[in-house]
Subunit: 473 residues, 2 copies
C-alpha cells in the first residue's frame, strides 16, 4: 500500500509540476507576444499605409483593389507557407458627387444640413427631392401615422442611440433598423425619401453612412435614403415642432453598378501536427468611403496580420493551421465572409476556431465567445493568464459578421472586444481616420488576439458535445 | 426542537432576504447613479467651461483664480450644506515669452527643435545658452561620464518611457526622475543646462512640461531645464551620433515670483447620522499652462463635483459627511493638499475615506486602494456590483497626490483608475485639451466614483486593526 500512495503522491506532484511548467511557459510566451507587439510591432505601420496611402476602401473601388494588392504583398513578405487571393464577386455602389440638403425655413430662407447617402440607396431625381417632413421615433410608428400622413413626405427617423447603455454596440443594435430598413418600410406608406439620424452617441456635425436594403422591392418603387448628423437631427426635430409644414430638400447622386470581381486575401502558416485543423483570424478589408476606415476595420485587418507575424517573431510554430483572412465586402454585402465559408464547406475543411476583430482599434478589454459550455469552461481556465494585461472581459456571445457563416459544428467563434465608448463617434463617418487610432491600443489588441490563438493552438478546443453551440453575435 | 429549527430557518431566510434586499437596493441605486450621469450629467458642461472659457490654470495665474471663483459658484448652485474657500499660499512661476531652441547643424545652418521650460526652471541668460550636448540615459550615467565630460555642456536626458509596460503610470515613474532632479544633479557636474526627453510614449512634436526641483541649491548655481518633444529627442540623439560636437542653443524666459494667495475650493453635504465621519472626493484645480488641463485634472475636478450633484439628484442623503475638495497647486508644490490635511489635523477631523481622480477622463477601469487588509476585503465584497459597468480593476495601492497627506490612522485612500493608454499623449502638453475628452468616458468615471462613495457611506470602512495600512500611491 505504501508504494501505491507513493506513486499517487508522485503522480500528483508530477501533474502539479507539469501544470506549473505549462503555466509558466504560457506566461512567458504571452509576455513575449506583448513585448514584441509593443516594442517592435508592425500593425501601426501597416495601418498608416492602409489609411494614409490608400484610404477609403469601399467594395468595388480602386481603394479596395489597392488594399488587396498591398496586404497580399505584405503577407508575402512574412514568409508564410501560403498566401493567396480568393475570388469573390462584390456589389459596387458609388456615392457620386457630394450630397446636398437644406431646410426651407421661410420664403427664400434656407439652412443647410449635413447629410450623407446611405450605402445602397438610390439617387434622388436629378433636380433633387423636396417635400414636407414627418418625424418618427421608429419603423413601428409608421403604422400609427398611416398613409394619410406619410404619403408624399420625407420620413425622418430620429430615435437616438441610448446613452444609458454601457455597451455601445447594444445601443447601436437598438437603432440600426431605422437605417437598414427605414426606406423600405416608409416606401410602403408612400414616402418620397427618408432621412435617418446618424448612429452616433455624440452630438456633432458628421453624418454617418452605413448599409441599407430595399429587400425585393421593385427598383421603380425605391426611395432615396440619407443619414443626417446628430446636431442637425436635433435642429430638424426642434424646428419641426414650431414649423410643422417645413420642407426639406436633398439631392444625392449615388448609383448601383454591376457586381465586380474582388478578393479575400488569405495567408497561412500550415500546422506542424494537425494541419487539417484550421484556426482563422480576420477582419474586413473593405471600408466605407467617407473616412479612411482606420477603426472600421483597418485596425482589425492589421491586427489579424500581426497575429501571424508575432507567431513567426517569437518562433512559435502552431500545431494547427493558422490562417489570416482579410474579408472583402463586410460593409455592404458580406460576400467575402459568405464566399470563404462556402469554399471551406465545399472542401470539407475543419475550422476549429475563428476570431474576428471588427470593433475598432481601441484598448482591448477581452472577448466574446460563441461555443458550447465545455469549450467555454476551457477558455475560462485561461483567463488568469490575461490579467497582467488588464484583459478581463470573457463572455458568452460574440464573433463577427465575416466569420458568422462559419458557425456550426464545434467551431468556436470569438470576437475581440475593445473599449467601445468612442467607437460610434467615428463609425462610418469622415472622422474614422488614422489619427484617431492610438498606437499602443492597436498593438495591445494584436497581442491579445495572438495570445488567445496561441492558447487555442496549444490546448485545443475539442469538444465531446455535438450540439449546444451557445451565444450569438 | 421543532420551534428552534423553525426560528433558525426563519432567521436564515430573514438574513437571506435582508442581504438580498440590500444588494438589490444597491444595484438599483448604482443603476440610478449611472443613468443620471449618462443621461443628465453636468460634468461635461462644467469641463467645457473650465477648459474653453478659462483654460490653463497654473497656480498663481489669472486662470487659477477664475477657476476658484467658477467652481465655488457652481458648487453654491447645488444646494450643498456648506461651500467655502480654504486659503493657501502657492508658488507662482511664469513661463514668459515662448521658448526657442535650435541645433547648429553646420556653419550658418540650424534646425529648430521643440522645447518647453520645465516648471520651476530658471531662465537662460538673456542671450540664451549655447553649448555642446552630452546625451545620457539617466542621472546615474552622470557619474560615469564625470565632470571632465560634462562641464560647460548641456546634458540631454533621453531615457524613454518603457513601451512594454502595460500600465503607463509605471513607465512614467521609471523616467520622471530625469525631469524632476535632472537639472539639480547635472549642475553638480558643471553642466550649463539640461534638455529632457518629454514624458510621452508617442513620437510627436509636442514638448511636455512638468515640475522640477533644485532642492536647496543656491539660486546662483541653478541651470535652466527644458523638455524636448519625443520626435526632436530622436533627432537630437541621431545627429549626435554623427556630429559629436553638435551645439544646441536655447532661450527661456521663465521666472519664479513671490508666493501668492490662493484657495482650495470645498463643498459639503453634512452627514445625517455620523457627520463627524468625513469622506472626501477630489481632484486638483490647477493645471499646467500649455493646454487647458482638460484631462489633468479638469476631468477629476468636474467628476468630483458631480459625485455630490448625483447624490442630490438621486435623493440619497449620506449618513457621513461628504466633501468635495478641489485642491490648488498639485502640479508644482502640493500646497493645497498639504494645507487641507494640516487644517483637518488641527481640527482633529476624522477622515474615514478619500478618493481622488487625477489620471485623466478616460474610460474608468476601477480603483487602487490604500487600506488595511480588513478594509480591502470589505471593499472587494462590493466588486460584483460594478460588473455591469465593466469596472473590474480593484487593486491594492492607490490614492492620489493631493489626498496623500491624509494618509494615516484608518483613513482609506483610493484613486480612480481610468484606462491609461492615451494619458501620456496629452499629459502636461499643449494637446491636453477639451476635444480629447470623451463625454461618455468622463461621465462613466463620475458615476463609478459616486457608486463607490455611496457604498462606503452605506456600509462604512470601520476597522478594528489599528495598523497595517497597506499600499502606496
Amino acid at each position: 500500500m505504501k508504494s501505491f500512495y507513493t506513486v499517487l503522491i508522485l503522480l500528483f506532484i508530477g501533474l502539479g509540476t507539469s501544470a506549473q511548467t505549462n503555466s509558466t511557459e504560457d506566461s512567458l510566451n504571452i509576455r513575449k507576444i506583448y513585448d514584441m507587439s509593443l516594442l517592435n510591432g508592425k500593425s501601426y505601420t501597416w495601418l498608416d499605409h492602409l489609411s494614409n496611402e490608400i484610404g477609403g476602401r469601399l467594395s468595388g473601388s480602386y481603394g479596395a483593389e489597392q488594399a488587396v494588392e498591398y496586404t497580399k504583398a505584405e503577407l508575402e513578405k512574412l514568409g508564410l507557407d501560403k498566401v493567396w487571393l480568393q475570388p469573390v464577386m462584390v456589389p459596387k455602389w458609388t456615392r457620386g458627387g457630394r450630397e446636398f440638403a437644406y431646410v426651407q425655413t421661410g420664403p427664400g430662407q434656407t439652412r443647410n444640413v449635413n447629410i450623407t447617402a446611405l450605402g445602397g440607396s438610390v439617387a434622388t431625381p436629378a433636380g433633387g427631392t423636396k417635400a414636407e417632413v414627418i418625424e418618427v421615433q421608429g419603423i413601428e410608428q409608421l403604422k400609427e401615422y398611416g398613409k394619410e400622413n406619410i404619403e408624399g413626405k420625407i420620413v425622418f427617423y430620429n430615435r437616438p442611440m441610448r446613452a444609458d447603455l454601457i455597451q455601445t454596440f447594444e445601443a447601436y443594435s437598438g437603432c440600426v433598423d431605422q437605417r437598414y430598413s427605414g426606406a423600405k418600410e416608409a416606401a410602403k406608406y408612400g414616402a418620397v425619401g427618408v432621412i435617418v439620424r446618424s448612429m452616433n452617441l455624440r452630438l456633432d456635425d458628421l453624418p454617418h453612412t452605413g448599409s441599407m436594403s430595399y429587400g425585393d422591392m421593385p427598383v421603380k418603387d425605391r426611395i432615396p435614403a440619407a443619414a443626417i448628423s446628430t446636431n442637425d437631427a436635433e435642429y430638424l426635430s426642434g424646428i419641426l415642432k414650431i414649423q410643422k409644414d417645413l420642407e426639406l430638400y436633398f439631392k444625392m447622386n449615388c448609383e448601383q453598378h454591376e457586381d465586380v470581381q474582388s478578393y479575400n486575401v488569405i495567408g497561412e502558416i500550415t500546422g506542424t501536427e494537425t494541419p487539417e485543423e484550421i484556426m482563422v483570424v480576420g477582419g474586413h478589408l473593405d471600408s466605407w468611403d467617407l473616412g479612411d476606415g482606420s477603426h472600421d476595420d483597418g485596425a482589425g485587418v492589421v491586427q489579424s496580420m500581426e497575429v501571424l507575424r508575432l507567431f513567426k517573431e517569437i518562433g512559435y510554430k502552431p500545431k494547427k493551421t493558422l490562417r489570416v483572412v482579410l474579408f472583402m465586402n463586410e460593409e455592404n454585402g458580406l460576400r467575402g465572409g459568405n464566399k470563404y465559408a462556402e469554399v471551406a464547406k465545399s472542401k470539407s475543411e475543419n475550422h476549429v476556431f475563428a476570431l474576428e476583430s471588427d470593433a475598432g482599434g481601441f484598448t482591448p478589454r477581452g472577448f466574446g465567445f460563441t461555443s458550447n459550455d465545455e469549450q467555454y469552461e476551457k477558455i475560462l481556465s485561461w483567463k488568469s493568464l490575461f490579467e497582467p494585461y488588464l484583459i478581463h472581459y470573457f463572455h458568452r456571445g460574440g464573433g463577427g459578421a465575416d466569420i458568422s457563416p462559419l458557425k456550426g459544428g464545434n467551431t468556436v467563434l470569438a470576437g475581440l472586444r475593445p473599449d467601445s465608448q468612442r467607437y460610434f463617434d467615428h463609425h462610418h463617418a469622415a472622422n474614422d481616420t488614422f489619427e484617431h487610432v492610438n498606437k499602443r491600443e492597436l498593438e495591445l489588441g494584436a497581442a491579445t488576439m495572438t495570445s488567445l490563438v496561441y492558447l487555442v493552438d496549444k490546448y485545443g478546443l475539442e469538444s465531446t458535445a455535438k450540439d449546444s453551440l451557445n451565444g450569438t453575435d
